[in-house]
């Protein structure tokens, strides 16, 4: 792993970031226990590269771990070798001579949804396929007022010229307010001003999938008379900022797929 990590560190290359951010703790919800002892995989993404630490149990049921560095292929899946390592006992001074790494097999990680994926790996002759999902730890509290910037693409026979994103005008701004109206179930109310004159609101359900959240509800815009369903997803809570994507399905036969960033007004 040391050689592998050093190679990564020294030969960092540049790729365009892709679709979703995989960084999270992933697990199989049906393979946990109320007594503890679940297994999982930690994923840290940097550009088109995933660093995975895979915590499982050996034939003696004792904890062990493997590490993998996966790179994205043309299909958007991540593939790479899986390694086992040895090293100095944590209670002793670090000795590089204790370090070794052995390639064991390969691993593939495929995202099947925003919060779900499939992990396929082999350790020697043992081949394993697991459905995994992001592990939520705590609800993010995104309550607050934000100024947003967003871009989108639109499709559908009902789309009007006003629905079409203008590359010349660039991303549009708006204001968004999120207020929890039910803490336990994390329902929120949301008001979003799309383009200058359209003020909309919805009461949305909130779900947490690992580190990202999803708001979904019926959007009503009294000022324009428009309505539809809005889903804000991959909502990531940053430092007084939110980033995410959205899907809006207007009732008049036009959908928008967009991305947004939002920042709280208080510095």
């Amino acid at each position: 792993m040391r050689r592998f990590l050093l190679a990564v560190f020294l030969c960092a290359t540049v790729f365009r970031a892709g679709a979703s951010d995989y960084t999270d703790i992933w697990f199989n919800p049906s393979e946990q226990s109320t007594a503890g002892g679940g297994w999982g995989v930690n994923v840290v993404q940097s550009d088109a590269f995933l660093f995975l630490t895979f915590f499982v149990y050996g034939p003696d049921n004792k904890p062990t771990w493997y590490v993998a560095g996966l790179t994205r292929d043309a299909n958007g899946n991540f593939n790479g070798p899986l390694y086992a390592t040895t090293g100095t006992y944590f209670g002793a001074p670090w000795n590089p001579l204790d370090q070794s790494e052995s390639p064991l097999g390969t691993m593939t990680f495929t995202l099947t949804g925003v919060g779900t994926g499939t992990l396929v790996y082999n350790v020697g002759e043992i081949a394993v396929t697991k459905a995994i999902s992001r592990q939520p730890l705590a609800l993010e509290d995104n309550a607050g007022n934000y100024r947003i910037t967003h871009t989108w693409t639109s499709t559908g026979p009902g789309c009007t010229p006003a629905d079409v994103y203008s590359a010349g005008a660039g991303p549009q701004n708006g204001d968004m307010a999120i207020q929890r109206i039910n803490l336990e179930t994390a329902l929120v109310s949301l008001t979003w001003q799309f383009t200058p004159v359209d003020v909309c609101s919805m009461t949305a359900n909130y779900t947490q999938s690992g580190r990202i959240g999803t708001y979904s509800g019926n959007l009503a815009c009294p000022s324009s008379g428009k309505s539809g369903t809005l889903v804000l997803y991959e909502v990531a809570n940053g430092i007084r900022t939110l980033t995410g994507r959205y899907f809006m399905d207007w009732s008049y036969g036009c959908t928008r797929n967009g991305r947004f960033t939002a920042i709280m007004p208080n510095p």
Partner: protein, 270 residues
Amino acid sequence: MKTLARWLTIATLALHAAHAPATNVTTDVTDIWWPSSEAGWGIQLIQNADVIFATMFVYGTGNQPVFYVALLENPPGGGTGTWTGTLYVSHGSYFGAPWSPALAGEVPVGTMTFALTGIGTGTLDYTVGATSVSKVIDRQPLKLENNDGSYRFTHTWSTSGAGCTASDAFAPATGAVTGDMSITHVDADTAAISLQWKLAPVEFCSMSASYSQIGRFGQYQGTLNCPARTGTLTFFEVANRVKGLSGRYTVDWGYNFRYQGRFGGVSNSP
């Protein structure tokens, strides 16, 4: 203190609300960390609101790999940059066999404390039985993020310094201000960039900046040249999102005046 098993069960079955929007008030510590001089073991931190799930990948007395886990919590009030929790070792079904809950369990073995000492540095203190360990750890960069592109951004800021004028102050009534930013790597290996930023409606500035990768975060630093003034600009905690950027910045203007701000940008290309 909740046990890890109970915690994970609660988290899975019935998420409870966070004490506070902690990732709004602390630097996101999610990353892989290890001492740069001890590449071979590490700890992966995943932050969600005000809790951190820590998985520490180390070696036992036989130099064989073993992992410990902890759920670290921020003290009440949050925002301190220090998280503490119970450290557990667990056992479970062999990965090559069907999962059996009857084989799973965990045992508390000590405590763990992680303290953020800088954007990319921290201290890790833990005990396993009578063994106490203290390490200085760093975020580990895996790849250079490529933030190239044109962005429309919004930003907020606070000001300090005797040279600050009224027009420099952030106006809450106006709210966050919009601008445009373009980033072009002019040297991929050293990640130098050129950057243009329209600060406040009528000011166009540019700089040639050095780029460094601190774990998942990027940092740009350089001299900002504007038509009527110059300063030193640092973008830090720059996180590459899906066609978006978020982060913080400081600008030290040459006339005893400083901006400290936050920004979020979205790519002009949908």
